[in-house]
Symmetry: C2
Subunit: 164 residues, 2 copies
């Protein structure tokens, strides 16, 4: 599918707000992911506030581009739903990938910004949003209309597939 094959990380965004319906479609896509024992161990913090996006761009040395984004989503694990942070990571990553693809489908660019297991990054987000014990911020995603050429690379490597 084109949106899977042509997606790539976008790091420069137009300064134009996304439509509410687009944000809603991206979020709805996240919830369509499968999860271990259907625990749905995810929680999403959504902000379009430019001041907050600027502050959040400090959560990691690789998150500067958040200041330029028009939407930021913090993907969190909810350990009340599944106490295993391994399964939470797997399920939340599937949900995140759905968001990236749905965004691409809507011609919206995105960039996944790594967090967990880096303690500093997790702690910064936990403190910033005053999160309860069971909500563990795993990573963020920056979104916005792309203001750059998108050049998806062909990363397929036959050496990484073994036929049995």
């Amino acid at each position: 599918m084109n949106s899977i094959y042509n997606r790539c990380s976008v790091r420069k965004f137009k300064q134009k707000s996304l439509e509410k319906s687009e944000i809603s479609q991206i979020l709805k896509a996240a919830f369509c992911a499968p999860s271990a024992r259907n625990a749905q161990p995810w929680y999403f913090i959504v902000t379009e506030d430019k001041e907050k996006l600027k502050e959040l761009s400090d959560f990691s040395p690789y998150a500067k581009l958040l200041a330029d984004a028009t939407l930021g989503i913090v993907v969190c694990a909810d350990t009340d739903c599944n106490p295993s942070l391994d399964y939470c990571q797997q399920d939340c990553a599937a949900a995140t990938q759905n968001m990236l693809i749905e965004a691409k489908e809507l011609n919206i660019g995105s960039c996944w910004l790594g967090g967990y297991p880096n303690e500093d990054r997790v702690q910064m987000l936990k403190t910033y949003f005053k999160l309860p014990e069971n909500i563990v911020p795993l990573w963020m995603v920056a979104f916005g209309y792309p203001d750059q050429e998108e050049e998806p690379k062909d990363k397929y490597k036959e050496s990484k597939v073994r036929y049995e």
Copy 2:
């Protein structure tokens, strides 16, 4: 996108082999996922061998349906690419979700079968395929043409979204 919203786990499959081009498209989709530092820490073991699928259906108490599938893919971490099994899980889960969606796009059903961090399941797969130290089997996915009604549920929950 329809393939994101309408996908659900499929557990009954027709006994008809997938086309080679379909298997190739599913695998290619996996490689399109993003990964931390673009490490691409994944490795895929692919089998259509019904005898092997039957044997592999013992890798977990929830994997019986593999015996009925016509394609099984073991998704592995390659810790030579990224030594962190946390990042490997995140990246491999994104790659897996791409496969599930691409399969749906091709009207192929799929079911993600949990493995890591369950030591028994990981060990069974490691032993079965005589995997080297750096290749850690994380989970499997069963594929095949669906032989059941697909009834995706609406799992969206407003209580799991916080606006800031």
